[in-house]
């Protein structure tokens, strides 16, 4: 296992596999950061239930754009141009979850609660990682992601107080996003994930991270009076 810590000035001396994997993970991270606003800004900025919620949608987008900026800077400094993802259509996003459009407030709320939480997990993979410029941008980004998760949770909980019909709509959104959240961790037994770990770029295997997520999320869903969807139904990556 590789245990050194790498600065930008050392990157050209690194093994090509290291540079390829780092460039790849930064590109995907940048795509996910900007992919969020592309999912919800168009329909949710005008349609959020209150003016304050509309402003919070805009603030969330601002924070995600800033996360993109920080990741793009780390990538750009090492010679990897990720700017193409800014103009990429949603259907070409690296991660399936970001293909499409959020059109309901239930989906927007559950997305924050479940998918931004996966975002937090992905960022936590880089804690203590071997590439120091990446490690340095994490604390502020994770703090803001925690805010998005909390907002999503609160809005989901608020919707659940509005009767059975509303609760059914929330459950439908949970059924939709839960399996996508689990898929976001990638294939179990992935060889690439092993190489990320070998180079000190990630901490856990895909299946370990997914299991941790399930252990965190399932009790929250149950405590909210929601059903935990079948974790295998509709999954693309197991």
């Amino acid at each position: 296992m590789f245990t050194d810590k790498i600065e930008l000035k050392d990157i050209d001396k690194m093994d090509p596999e290291y540079r390829d994997l780092l460039g790849r993970v930064l590109t995907i991270q940048a795509d996910c950061e900007i992919g969020g606003p592309h999912l919800y800004v168009e329909k949710m900025l005008p349609a959020a239930p209150t003016k304050l919620d509309q402003l919070i949608v805009a603030r969330t987008a601002a924070e995600e754009i800033d996360h993109f900026r920080k990741v793009a800077r780390v990538a750009g400094d090492m010679g990897v141009d990720v700017s193409f993802v800014l103009s990429q259509p949603n259907e070409k996003r690296f991660v399936d979850t970001f293909r499409g459009l959020i059109t309901t407030w239930e989906d927007n709320s559950v997305f924050g609660f479940l998918i931004d939480r996966v975002g937090r997990y992905q960022l936590e993979e880089f804690y203590d990682c071997s590439y120091l410029p990446l490690q340095r941008i994490l604390p502020d980004i994770v703090t803001e992601e925690l805010g998005h998760i909390e907002y999503g949770y609160n809005k989901t909980a608020e919707l659940l107080t509005k009767g059975d019909e509303q609760k059914a709509r929330v459950q439908k959104a949970v059924d939709h996003w839960y399996v996508r959240a689990l898929d976001m961790f990638g294939r179990s037994g992935s060889k690439r994930a092993e190489r990320y770990r070998y180079w000190g770029l990630k901490r856990r295997t895909n299946e370990q991270a997914r299991d941790d997520y399930i252990k965190e999320v399932d009790p929250i869903l149950l405590s909210m009076g929601l059903k935990v969807p079948d974790p295998l139904k509709g999954r693309r990556y197991t």
Binding site: L8, D12, P37, L55, A58, A62, G76, D77, M78
Partner: protein
């Protein structure tokens, strides 16, 4: 030092300005929750800024 990708710094500076402008507009709205007109104006400002980012015309931003 490695060779940076083209326009790395320019894009970083541009997006930082965008983010600051968005936060400014949001703050303006959030601090006037008793004034619907000001909130509408802030939401409209946010929409205008976000529409440009969502359009993704990166070359236009940087020229």
């Amino acid at each position: 030092m490695p060779q940076a990708a083209p326009d790395t710094e320019k894009l970083d500076e541009h997006l930082l300005e965008v983010v600051r402008a968005l936060h400014g507009a949001v703050k303006q709205g959030v601090s006037h929750t008793n004034d619907p007109k000001l909130m509408d104006k802030a939401i409209e400002d946010c929409k205008e800024i976000l529409d440009v980012i969502m359009a993704g015309e990166v070359k236009e931003w940087l020229n």
